[in-house]
């Protein structure tokens, strides 16, 4: 990745974070914390990694993305809007009556959403189905799915992982956002899912651990995935992140899992992001 490419990604990520604040502020609800921790990942997927076309969101051979942690829809929507799937101006209608931007992703209303999700543990299974289907159809597209660390407590995650390894779904990339916090508190306290790496390895996956708020690290993780294609194992990218990343008062605060910023908080967050943009542009 060139310095220029990285700079462009960083600028898109700022815009995605702005979109997250704008969406949740407009909705007066929603989940900013986990959207912000995954904002760099969403940016990387939609601006570098995935073969997608905003002009043809249902293209047969496109790569698929399933947001298994569906409550972080504000992050996905912001990335899709930034990539041009739909107007950014619609983001503030999130969760409003009559808006196509439903509280959790709806594949039938939101351009670019490949699967309706929201009930945890289910998106990964649907992604696994897409990957298995692609193998049966001899299609080369790749399937990506993003899970939260709290989500790993759902037993179905492990049913899906077992299936993925059993059927050698090396076209599948399972990404886990290890931000360490869930609604009721730290994941280590609510229901300790550690050691996550050993669990996925024991289930037959190839695991790579990265810092998820760093584009060089994200590139490293996905390069590993590319190398694994054809080798018969699903790839798991364990992504260490900061919940609420990029908005100072939200960072590492469990209370910002599912709460919208008020007007003052929104203004402060947007000012911080404007400053971040300025610094990136001037660097």
């Amino acid at each position: 990745m060139t310095a220029e490419q990285k700079k462009a990604l960083k600028l898109h990520a700022v815009a995605v974070r702005e979109g997250i604040l704008t969406g949740t502020h407009g909705a007066k609800a929603g989940h900013p914390g986990g959207s912000l921790s995954s904002a760099d990942l969403f940016t990387y997927l939609y601006f570098k990694e995935m073969n997608i076309d905003p002009a043809n969101p249902k293209g047969e051979d496109r790569d698929r993305f399933v947001l298994s942690k569906g409550h972080t829809a504000p992050g996905l929507y912001a990335a899709l809007a930034e990539r041009g799937f739909f107007p950014k101006e619609d983001l503030p209608t999130l969760r409003h009556v009559g808006s196509y931007l439903q509280g959790h992703p709806n594949m039938n209303t939101v351009p670019g959403v490949d699967m309706s999700t929201g009930s945890l543990g289910q998106g990964i299974s649907a992604a696994v189905g897409m990957a298995k289907g692609a193998k049966y159809l001899n299609k080369d597209f790749r399937v990506y799915t993003l899970l939260g660390d709290g989500e790993l407590a759902e037993g179905q995650v492990w049913e899906a992982t077992m299936f993925a390894a059993h059927y050698h779904l090396d076209n599948l990339c399972i990404i886990v956002d290890l931000n360490g916090l869930q609604i009721d508190g730290p994941t280590s306290v609510v229901m300790n899912t550690a050691p996550v790496d050993e669990k996925f390895e024991a289930f037959g996956c190839d695991v790579v651990e990265i810092e998820g708020n760093d584009f060089d690290e994200l590139e490293h993780g996905f390069k590993k995935f590319h190398k694994n294609i054809g080798k018969g194992k699903p790839t798991v990218i364990l992504m260490h992140t900061t919940k609420g990343k990029g908005v100072s008062y939200m960072e590492n605060q469990v209370g910002w899992h599912g709460k919208a910023p008020n007007d003052a908080e929104y203004a402060q967050g947007m000012a911080e992001l404007a400053e971040a943009r300025k610094q990136i542009e001037e660097a």
């Binding site: 709806n106 189905g129 990957a131 077992m162």
Partner: protein
């Protein structure tokens, strides 16, 4: 009845899948370690490359099917009714029903007639659960011929379908070539005193009950309601108007199934007395299927008895 041909509808299901599979490459089958029992092994032998065993993990299996369906594949997902409608309810509701995906759920071992396995496997709640999901089509065949026609119809229509098959071999009452239409009931016997609306393997019992009633001078109309949802309201209301009284018969709890669907329909549009015959809000237990059906009153004798009681005779 010794010379009557009997076939278990699960067998019909497996054979119909194989037949359809020969014509349609996009038909795939998923099972959860029960292929020998659900009879999807018939398909598996013919098309091993498109029969995917998901292991004993029904929740994952439903959503895997959902994912596959987005690629233009038409998955038939099979396990026992208890696990398809019960265990995996929320997967069916959220990841198949909500996005209205083209997934066909082939649930076998419905009802009390599972027999010896007992209550844990005797699903008498699946119609109720599946009826509550918007956009779900629900079918329950009366015999082998209808079962095969339903599998074909399910493949040909767009959207989620729940098909309920049974373990027990039961009489074949339809001629080959029977023209099944989704959402349409079928009058099997004309009558004017009372209408018996039945589905599944109790339809032959309803026909026998009508014969016995005829001998006592009671003219009973028998309607086979192969599709529970969407309900053929036209045929129900016609029966209500012309017969004045209705008996419903199903191998399901009297809560939430065909009986309640019929009651809701007539209560709103043409109130008439209705007697629901089904499993009376209780769990089943182990025993030979035919014996259990008799014990739970899911047989011609009890249908005739309850019908007479409704008519005050």
């Amino acid at each position: 009845m010794a010379d009557v041909k009997k076939v278990a509808t699960r067998q019909s299901y497996g054979e119909a899948l194989k037949e359809l599979g020969a014509v349609h490459d996009n038909l795939v089958v998923l099972d959860a370690d029960l292929a020998n029992a659900t009879k999807t092994d018939i398909f598996k032998k013919a098309y091993p490359d498109r029969h995917f065993d998901c292991g004993i993990a029904e929740a994952n299996m439903m959503d895997v099917a959902a994912g596959m369906s987005t690629l233009g594949l038409v998955p038939f997902v099979s396990t026992f009714a208890m696990f398809a409608a019960g265990r995996a309810f929320e997967m069916v509701r959220n990841t198949i029903g909500y996005p209205h995906l083209n997934v066909k759920i082939g649930a076998t071992h419905g009802g009390i007639s599972v027999g010896e396995d007992g209550a844990s496997h005797q699903c008498c709640e699946d119609f109720a659960l599946m009826r509550s999901i918007p956009g779900m089509t629900i079918m329950s065949p009366s015999d082998d011929v209808e079962a095969r026609a339903m599998v074909k119809a399910a493949y040909e229509m767009e959207g989620p379908v729940y098909l309920r098959f049974c373990r027990l071999a039961t009489p074949v009452i339809h001629e080959e070539g029977f023209d099944f239409k989704v959402g349409k009931g079928e009058v099997l016997a004309q009558g004017t005193d009372v209408a018996i609306i039945a589905n599944g393997i109790l339809v032959p019992e309803a026909l026998d009950a009508a014969k016995a009633l005829a001998e006592e001078g009671i003219s009973a109309r028998v309607i086979n309601m192969g599709t529970i949802k969407p309900l053929d309201e036209e045929i129900v209301l016609k029966a209500a108007k012309e017969c004045g009284k209705i008996v419903t018969v199903e191998e399901h709890s009297i809560i939430g199934g065909l009986g309640e669907a019929v009651c809701s329909c007539v209560a709103e549009h043409c109130p008439v007395p209705v007697k629901r015959i089904g499993v009376n809000d209780e769990f089943g237990h182990s025993g030979p299927a035919v014996e259990l059906l008799k014990q739970f009153g899911l047989c011609a004798d009890n249908i005739a008895k309850q019908t007479k009681a409704l008519l005050g005779k």
